[in-house]
Symmetry: C2
Subunit: 424 residues, 2 copies
């Protein structure tokens, strides 16, 4: 009993082309497995030179997406152009034309997901978005179906491959941020949009989709705390290693009753934790849920070929299942970053002369911050040398107050470095 579905693909970048190739070249096995016959009715890109793909794979090409959206024979629209507009309009128009939609567009879903899902729910259409978070990892499905009976309490994600690769290369090769960024660019990981990666916004987009999945909450990403990795120096990476930590850019979600804590920033995690071993450009999500316990999902976070796996599984999934939507929650209080209690890694550049530590300690003590360990890393009299501190749990607001005071001391060359610690 075969099921037939006709699809149109809008956007023939790396993921679009890989999806086209995977379906055209390797789909026969999947067809046997699922009894779903997929026909690619039309492919579309505004770049007319992409028409060569039409010849290569014998598929009609158009540069006008509405030849797909308005085609009454097409069942599923696969949106792979990325960005906010015109992707948003294409998706909404496709839904209104009665089509199911598959998309990899995290920036769009993070900003307008709420409205898009409301339209889909009203029209009873499916939206597949497995490819929007963690590329090839079947994470969306695992959370929304596999963990449907669970309450997620904590989630820590390495959601951006580019920044993970940069931090990995800095640590492995003892190179600084700029050099590692160049290596990432050479490898094709950091592109023209690398600001989104480096500053943490790409991870934040994905975190907001995970927030919807885990908690039924679409956060306003503008209100969330996000900090990128460009401030992380090789010095810090080496010092935390001595303390048995690794620095990762983490997307963090913690839920406690009505309180939800969502943020993205570089974080010290214990080097024996499974997330510490997530190297190169891999992505991973570690989470703790009740009753499932601790879980880790690991895999390729980007790249056309790996991501096409998620696009194809979405095409198959929307073909078979009735739309099911996550119930939204509104009575949520977002934890403000200033009210956090955390342990912190702090690095000062301080003049190597008597009494400096006393001055620093006094300011910290006055703000109720107690020190777990302190090490002066070099000796060079009268010069600025690094002092590394690990604090006990302290209020984030107080730490910032303390640092601004300390940075005004004449014996300190600011700004001092501050990185949060998570003792997973």
């Amino acid at each position: 009993m075969k099921i037939y579905k006709k699809i149109g693909i809008i956007g023939l970048g790396t993921v679009g082309e890989a999806t086209l190739e995977a379906i055209k070249k390797h789909y026969s096995l999947v067809e046997k497995r699922t009894s779903l016959k997929i026909k690619i009715s039309k492919i579309c890109d505004i770049k007319k030179e992409k028409k060569n793909l039409a010849y290569k794979y014998s598929v009609p090409f158009t540069s006008n997406p509405y030849e797909i959206i308005n085609d009454a024979n097409i069942d599923i629209v696969v949106e792979l152009i990325g960005g906010i507009e015109p992707a948003r309009t294409y998706i909404l128009d496709s839904l209104k034309k009665g089509k199911d939609v598959v998309t990899a567009n995290k920036a769009l879903l993070s900003k307008y997901g709420r409205g898009i899902f409301q339209v889909a729910r009203k029209l009873r259409r499916n939206i597949g978005f497995e490819a929007s978070v963690c590329g090839a990892i079947p994470l969306i499905r695992s959370i929304s179906e596999g963990l449907v009976g669970c309450k997620v309490r904590r989630l820590y994600g390495i959601l951006n491959g580019t920044t993970n690769y940069i931090l990995y290369r800095m640590r492995r090769d003892r190179i600084d941020f700029k050099e590692a960024l160049k290596e990432a660019q050479k490898k094709g990981l950091a592109e023209r949009h690398s600001e989104l990666d480096i500053k943490g916004f790409d991870a934040l987009h994905k975190l907001s989709i995970l927030s919807y999945l885990c908690f039924g909450v679409w956060p306003k990403t503008d209100n969330l705390y996000v900090e990128g990795i460009s401030r992380i120096s090789l010095l810090d990476i080496m010092y935390v290693e001595e303390l048995s930590y690794v620095i990762k850019l983490l997307a963090i979600a913690k839920k406690d009753k009505e309180r939800l804590d969502l943020r993205v920033h570089p974080t010290l995690i214990p080097s024996e934790h499974p997330l510490s071993g997530v190297n190169s450009s891999y992505n991973a999500v570690w989470l703790e849920a009740y009753p499932a316990g601790e879980l880790l999902f690991y895999g390729e976070g980007a790249g056309g070929i790996p991501t096409s796996s998620s696009v194809i599984s979405d095409i198959i999934n929307v073909s078979f299942v009735k739309p099911r939507f996550i119930q939204e929650r509104n009575n949520i209080i977002f934890t403000k970053i200033g009210s956090l209690f955390n342990r912190y890694y702090i690095r000062f550049m301080a003049k190597d002369c008597p009494g400096v530590l006393a001055k620093i300690s006094k300011i910290l003590a006055s703000l109720d911050i107690s020190i777990a360990s302190v090490t002066q890393k070099e000796r060079e009299e009268k010069k600025f040398v690094p002092i590394v501190m690990i604090t006990h749990e302290a209020k984030e607001e107080s730490i910032h107050k303390a640092l601004s005071k300390i940075d005004t001391l004449s014996v300190i060359k600011g700004p001092s470095q501050l990185i949060r610690i998570e003792d997973l």
Copy 2:
């Protein structure tokens, strides 16, 4: 638009009771999330003392499973008694009565899964079996849905928590197998059925279910190679550590065109591989698939509370989706263990006197086995001391021939130790 389902639970062991508790105490959130209302109509156990659970959770109790199977009002039968019979009959009778089935029974599915799924397919009933492999990890769903568009090429699984815990404790605490087994028993990990765990059969059962999921092949488990961990000594664990390896009991599946290689045995894997860090009683599966790439899934492999997460997600899933079955393949050739090419770790107990290594090397050379490294671990003249060898790739048959010859030498105290190496 609420959906109502009535379920009956047969078997109130740790998983059964945890499922009951999770539904009765924590289901309201899930109900909001999914619009699925679950009513537990009846619970059943042959042990009459389990009736106390009926009072605790206000659910009708019976000691006769047919009061569930024949109850026309019950939609889903949850089988959690384990073992082959009567579980098989209960499941088949439930399907025939038009019920969907959820089961955690790996031993049964491994042996009779093929026939049970054929009946379910004919009757168009659903079988949920997420809890049968890797407890709380949503692995079945990830492979069958998330990776539905993929060809799995290689899979390595730590599928048994008890043996992983024993090997972990041996390595961490430098204790021998027997002592570590006692620790596992103390922790409630090894029970009366621990032979199934220790000898590798539990992992083999799960591997055969994964073979069905990944390749559409139900193997005859009697024909597959399985080797447990009781022969692994603390000595071996320490020696491989020096060589940057870790010993894990791995379930291995490799597919190359029509050839399928399935086996379970202790294996040396590189200590920097993510699977090496899977400690305590955790389970994990690492796999390589096209186009998804490398993926790792990690979580609790057993225990009532974690496993109840998978049981509940199955109950919800079978309530929503139409039955879909994996197409079976028959034209498969199973790779025989003797025809494998592998690298090997070998440990001889050899008399510390001149000429011994020459004798061993001569035998190995005569069978085309070349040595990558060799170390004598101690010196004690005229006594038996360990010699550790790593071979280059060699045919398994030849290695066994060589070892039986070597073990007859008067300078050797056999049997010598042999462990396969996988350079993931």
